[in-house]
């Protein structure tokens, strides 16, 4: 296992980046629904009070108003916990943003079960599935603070709706300030031709740990940071499907509608291969520390190794 140095939570990196680019991009307006201290948008609000609006606990109003701001040339960033912003304002996103083709950015925190002790009402394990239903949306799930900074800056340059998934806990540092990312692409972190392990966001380090353990057994796993969920990086997937014996996906999301299901749909047509997905199987999270919950729901290095070995032994 690697010694992971914990960096900032991705939500904090988001707030800091907004603050950093607020001066350059005068069109940016930031909207929050009484969670600005958790999403760190309060940093922007302090420096740019005229471009920051706290909507109170009224997510639907916030999202529709973001659409209105976008019609007037603003670049609104909407933030809250993923479960509240997306689930409560799902239809407002559909009609006002997706169905009006407006340039609104959604950055939610508290995605996945790594939220921990707050329990299932504050944990979104369906955000990817829901956001993927909106035509034209780009979905990005950065793994650490450096990837988050890149994603926030890059999404401003992209004209169109974007969802960026961030998390609550401090994230293991995977990258550095010089790491280069490509918009709408993914990143192969480790090469290997035996199997492929795919993850995104907070759980990416579990994939890397599993890779190291597998190496001790002589198994070379390719590890891909699938930070762009949508559009699906088909080229990288096809390559992995052709060059390795199968794919293991680990994500803190429901199996139904998660990245694993999207990958399976694509590859079952273009290049069928063994795909095993680790995630929440028709259930919600609960209270506990992030790693207790990961253990309970099978998001562990051991489980990744088990799935890899199943793929290899089945040929």
């Amino acid at each position: 296992m690697r010694e992971w140095k914990l960096g900032k939570p991705t939500r904090e990196a988001y707030g800091e980046t907004l603050l950093e680019i607020g001066e350059e991009y005068k069109e940016i307006v930031v909207l929050d629904a009484d969670l600005s201290k958790s999403t760190y948008t309060f940093l922007f609000g302090k420096k740019f009070p005229d471009r920051f609006f706290n909507f109170g606990i009224a997510e639907a109003n916030m999202v529709s108003a973001a659409a209105g701001l976008a019609t007037s040339g603003k670049i609104p960033f909407c933030s809250s916990f993923a479960c509240f912003m997306i689930n409560k304002a799902y239809e407002q996103i559909k009609i006002g943003v997706a169905g009006s083709k407006l340039n609104v950015k959604f950055v939610a925190s508290h995605a996945g079960i790594s939220v921990g002790e707050d329990g299932f009402t504050q944990q979104s394990v369906e955000d990817i599935a829901l956001m993927a239903t909106f035509p034209g949306f780009v979905i990005v799930a950065p793994a650490d603070e450096f990837a988050t900074r890149w994603a926030v800056k890059e999404c401003v340059k992209h004209k169109g709706p974007v969802y960026i998934r961030t998390g609550r806990p401090k994230s293991p540092i995977i990258y550095n300030e010089n790491t280069e990312f490509e918009w709408k692409k993914t990143k192969v972190l480790e090469e290997g031709d035996d199997v492929t392990i795919i993850s995104y966001g907070f759980t990416l380090h579990i994939a890397l740990d599993a890779r190291d353990e597998l190496l001790k057994k002589g198994i070379k796993a390719r590890v891909i940071d699938f930070y762009t969920i949508k559009p699906l990086d088909e080229e990288t997937l096809l390559k992995a499907a052709k060059e390795t014996k199968g794919i293991v996906v680990i994500e803190e999301h429901l199996l139904n509608g998660g990245l694993g299901s999207m990958i399976a749909r694509f590859l079952s047509d273009k290049n069928p291969c063994r795909i095993k997905v680790i995630g929440l199987d028709d259930t919600y999270g609960e209270s506990g520390t992030p790693y207790e919950l990961f253990k309970k729901f099978g998001l562990t290095v051991e489980n990744v190794i088990k799935k890899v070995e199943e793929i290899i032994s089945n040929g």
């Binding site: 109170g56 109003n61 108003a65 701001l69 019609t71 603003k74 009609i95 006002g96 169905g99 009006s100």
Partner: protein
């Protein structure tokens, strides 16, 4: 505003009549749609597009334009017919309503008709969109006004009140809502399904300046309310306009049968005859 002249009112009435005929033809031709709630808001739309709002049909995206949002999106036929009268779209195009490939979708769809501010049709959202447009106006220090037409039944949506609370707190005096109070919703009388009364007190208590228009088909009354609303500072305004669902066609007036049902051929002919003859 100078007192409106009789001949000006006559002109507006003529336009309203053309729009009514178009609504009947469009929904009749489409075989579906919402004539009742379209006919009830004709005078409101004509007042806005021909008297109250600053806009330029030759330049639909003019940054200084007053904005209009049809939050009660099912009134789309009335909006399209009004836009045609203004010259934003060709009148011939109106008969493509609800047909495959048409820019005139069943409910306003910005993907097909980009001159719209936003797509509408799911009730309760338009006022919030108006909030965003009004905020942008304040940030940019522009003097455009934002008009949002909401339905009476629509006011049962909680989001309307989220927007109401926010607008007065932020003193959005560039935001003006109009409620087309035709007293019916799809399933029947509002007073029997979920009454919204006392609606004036509700808006007042949410910090809005309220204007009541007893006859929402009387141009003088409507225009008076719009002019008074423009004078209000530091508060959003709402005009509660009492209207008649299906207004202008005797067998449609107050007949909720025509909420979401188009006239058949025989009804269409009768309706057009009535509208033409009524002076």
């Amino acid at each position: 505003m100078q007192r409106i002249t009789f001949s000006e009112i006559e002109t507006l009435q003529k336009i309203a009549k053309e729009i009514r005929k178009d609504i009947i033809k469009m929904t009749g031709n489409a075989g579906s749609g919402h004539p009742g709630g379209s006919l009830s808001c004709v005078e409101i739309l004509v007042s806005l597009f021909f008297k109250v709002m600053r806009h330029d049909p030759k330049n639909p995206t003019w940054s200084e334009r007053d904005r209009f949002i049809l939050s009660k999106g099912h009134g789309a036929p009335a909006l399209y017919a009004t836009l045609a009268q203004c010259g934003y779209i060709e009148r011939e195009e109106l008969l493509t309503l609800r047909k495959i490939g048409s820019r005139l979708q069943g409910h306003p769809d910005k993907r097909f008709l980009p001159l719209l501010e936003v797509s509408t049709g799911s009730l309760g959202q338009g006022l919030s969109v108006g909030v965003g447009v009004a905020l942008a106006g304040k940030i940019d220090k522009k003097d455009y006004r934002v008009y949002v037409l909401i339905g009476d039944g629509e006011s049962q949506e909680g989001q309307v009140w989220e927007a109401a609370m926010f607008s007065s707190f932020h003193k959005l005096d560039n935001l003006c809502a109009i409620m087309d109070y035709n007293k019916f919703q799809l399933d029947g009388r509002i007073s029997e399904i979920l009454d919204i009364e006392p609606v004036i007190k509700k808006w007042q208590s949410f910090g809005w300046e309220v204007f009541e228009v007893k006859d929402g088909h009387n141009f003088e009354e409507i225009l008076w309310a719009f002019e008074e609303a423009k004078k209000i500072k530091h508060k959003p305004q709402i005009i509660i306009a009492h209207t008649i669902k299906g207004k202008g066609v005797s067998f449609m007036e107050g007949n909720n049968h025509f909420h979401g049902r188009a006239p058949n051929k025989e009804e269409e002919i009768r309706a057009l005859k009535e509208i033409s003859e009524d002076l």
